[in-house]
């Protein structure tokens, strides 16, 4: 009985050790969400992105151009969200970056909705790749 208790105690300690090691090299999915701030953690070198937009004569956004993307980000997926008052999403678009030489750039012309330039207060970017 004493031997069995010793073995069980050792087994529990070993399991706990491996669980801790596993968690240190991984990202828990318990909350089912992933958030990130403006600080990048990408190895393709993007530290900040900026966009400009064109409008038609009615003042609706017809195109968004995103620049400042390092060429190393070629092949990654860039998503841009057009943000309105109180941080509301007005529309979004995404593309896979390609054809990059010294830098990458991307142009979007469809956002899933008609967006008045006057309602646009900013952009949100996400760059994801392997």
């Amino acid at each position: 009985m004493k031997l069995l208790a010793k073995i069980l105690g050792f087994a529990l300690a070993t399991a706990a050790t491996f669980a801790a090691c596993g968690a240190a090299a991984s990202l828990a999915l318990g909350t089912n969400s992933l958030s990130a701030g403006s600080a990048g953690v990408t190895s393709c070198g993007a530290s900040s992105l900026s966009a400009t937009r064109n409008v038609n004569n009615t003042g609706n956004v017809t195109q968004v151009d995103v620049g400042g993307i390092p060429a190393a980000c070629s092949g990654e997926t860039l998503s841009v969200t057009l943000v309105g008052a109180a941080g509301a999403s007005l529309g979004s678009a995404s593309t896979t970056l390609s054809g990059c030489t010294t830098v990458c750039s991307a142009s979007f012309s469809s956002f899933g909705a008609t967006i008045a330039g006057t309602n646009l207060t900013g952009y949100s970017f996400a760059l994801v790749g392997s």
Binding site: F10, A15, S26, A36, N54, T118
Partner: protein
């Protein structure tokens, strides 16, 4: 000793699988997230044009840049078109900004007897304030931006939306060659508009913008 080895092996296997079953390995992914906030200052109003004039088909070699009016005239052999260009630099809008809306305000000092539709078209080549009818024929134009109706009442202000042109000129000031204003309809009519040389009611460009 054999029993101990068996238990140890089983424990290692269970411990490893339990640790990784609830986790996602992200070591092979790049993730970047960022934001850009736009500011919307108060509207910039440019009063008075950098250049405005009219050219007259019936005086093809003459220049009319110092009159207190410009305008548009239709009629065979007597057509008159106007050209107007604003200096946007006074608004200090960065090239990374853009126009949310832009309105050209013109004061019709003498309206025609019947209402006419005037067409505003961007000019795509450079012109000087010495422009005359003969020279304007060598200019190139873009697609018409908009139109406005004169009405038949004199001394009224008229507005035309020119957002798309001004937005483009904010981003690339070198392409700002202003507009041509013309009465392209059939028949004969004359509309006079107060020019920058007028003491009051000068042309205005009102720009709501972001940067």
């Amino acid at each position: 000793m054999k029993r101990f080895a068996l238990l140890l092996g089983l424990t290692l296997a269970v411990g490893s699988s339990a640790a990784f079953a609830a986790t996602l390995n992200v070591s092979s992914w790049h993730v970047f997230a960022g934001t850009q906030t736009l500011t919307k200052p108060a509207a910039c109003t440019v009063t008075g044009a950098a250049a405005d004039l009219y050219v007259d088909e019936s005086n093809a070699g003459s220049n009319f840049s110092t009159a207190t009016f410009f305008g548009a005239r239709a009629g065979t052999g007597v057509r008159a078109y106007s050209f107007i260009r604003f200096d946007l630099s006074t608004c200090n809008i960065p090239a990374t900004g853009g126009a949310d809306s832009a309105t050209l305000k013109l004061f019709v000092s003498t309206a025609p007897g019947t209402s006419r539709t005037l067409t505003i078209t961007p000019v795509t080549g450079t012109w000087a304030s010495t422009l005359n009818w003969t020279q304007w024929l060598g200019l190139t134009l873009g697609s018409p931006t908009t139109t406005f109706t004169t009405g038949t009442t004199s001394n009224v202000s008229k507005s035309a939306t020119v957002t798309v042109d001004v937005d483009g000129w904010i981003k690339n000031g070198a392409t700002n060659f202003g507009w041509r204003i013309a009465d392209l309809n059939t028949g004969s009519a004359t509309t006079l508009i107060s020019s920058t040389e007028s003491t009051t009611n000068k042309p205005q460009l009102v720009i709501n913008y972001e940067k």
